[in-house]
Amino acid sequence: MGDLTLSQAEFHRLAEYIYLKTGIRFEPGKEYYVAKRVEKRMRELDFTGFGRYFNYLRFQPSGAEIELLVNSLTVNETYFFREYSQLKCFAEEVVPLLTRDLGGGRLKVWSAGCSTGEEPYTLAIILLEMLADTGITFEVHGTDINTNVLRAAERACYGDRAVKDVPEDYLRKYFRREGDGYLVLPVVKKNVRLYRLNLNDGSTMDGMRGFHAIFCRNVLIYFDDCSRREVALRFYRSLEPGGFIFLGHSESMSRITPIFKLRRFKEAIIYQK
């Protein structure tokens, strides 16, 4: 298949459809960017014309294709300190709230869909900083369904791009240079438990209890409506009363389920049990 060229009308139609379904707006001028990703999906699915692909996108029963396309359009690259303002909110507003009533207890945080480990290690670094000298301990659980990414998370060695947003002093304090990469130090790693978990597996999910915060960013987009609702319900049960759940910036728990309360903080909007 040659290069796909989207006509203005096709681009407009697709952009409107994506906006309708996700709230993400692709303005004129993004035609090439969008076309390259649509072309990739069409090639993978063996479609030869945009019209047919667009119909598939609209009518595929599971709705997975729109999520996959949007995912590719929103660059699902993961790196340390991703979505900084949300993490700032976690560190400066949510952690103090959670620890206020914790006494000398243990804070439990879950990075669900942790991929290659950047998020759980970021959370561990934040908690090391925020809980130093408080007497409060913590554990970060990083889970993913994909064992390959978990192996990479266990290695904990990252390239320049992954650590580009790590503050310089944290880079010195919590990483060690190793060849071309950066190795996460044991002081961080020892607080992080990595294991395989399928969010759709009810019996395993039943064992995930007592968490004070769950990060599940850009993961639920892969689920169909019913599974997404079921997973959200399981997250609810996994959280302690008053616990928080963090979704990706383009995701909305209110669109999935009404069971969480919306909490507005200075830096972000977060959902609470």
């Binding site: 096709e10 139609r13 029963p61 019913c226």
Partner: protein, 181 residues
Amino acid sequence: MDEVFELIKRYAASGNLKEIFSLIAETRDPVIREAAYVQAIKTGGTEAVESFISLLYSSEAHLRNLAVEALQELGTGYIDRLEKLLCDPDPDIRIISFNILAGVRNETAAGPVRRYLEGIVAAGVTDQENVLAAALECMGELGGPEDAALLDKVKELIEGGDGHPYLRYALQQAREKLWAI
């Protein structure tokens, strides 16, 4: 709370949808309602679809909304049943049914909307304005360029009546959506 979750799971395992729907309708606890709703969706089948259709007539808006979401989720295998709702004597139910069809992600959902529009064209009488507008909006979501001729006929019908501006607008929106494909 855990006991209720276990109870709902047991109801689902024994196919006891009646109790699950009683919980959906009667509980004031949104978490329990949500858990029962998810199990009802997962169980699916004709009984679940009929029970959700009953909830479309509820006086509680949240229950009606849940039913709409559920029928959009389950509707693919029940397009014929949803089509019957387009003839419901209550115009609100007809509007809701178009909304449901618009959200059923399946090409076959366009069939009932076409037949509805063909029906009013053949009869030469428009439906209540809000219902026809909902039908046109639904056609915009589900139809394709092949529906151009049908929309032209609907346009003639609208212009032949009082040419209500709202209907003209809904028609224009539908045409723009379909032409752009």
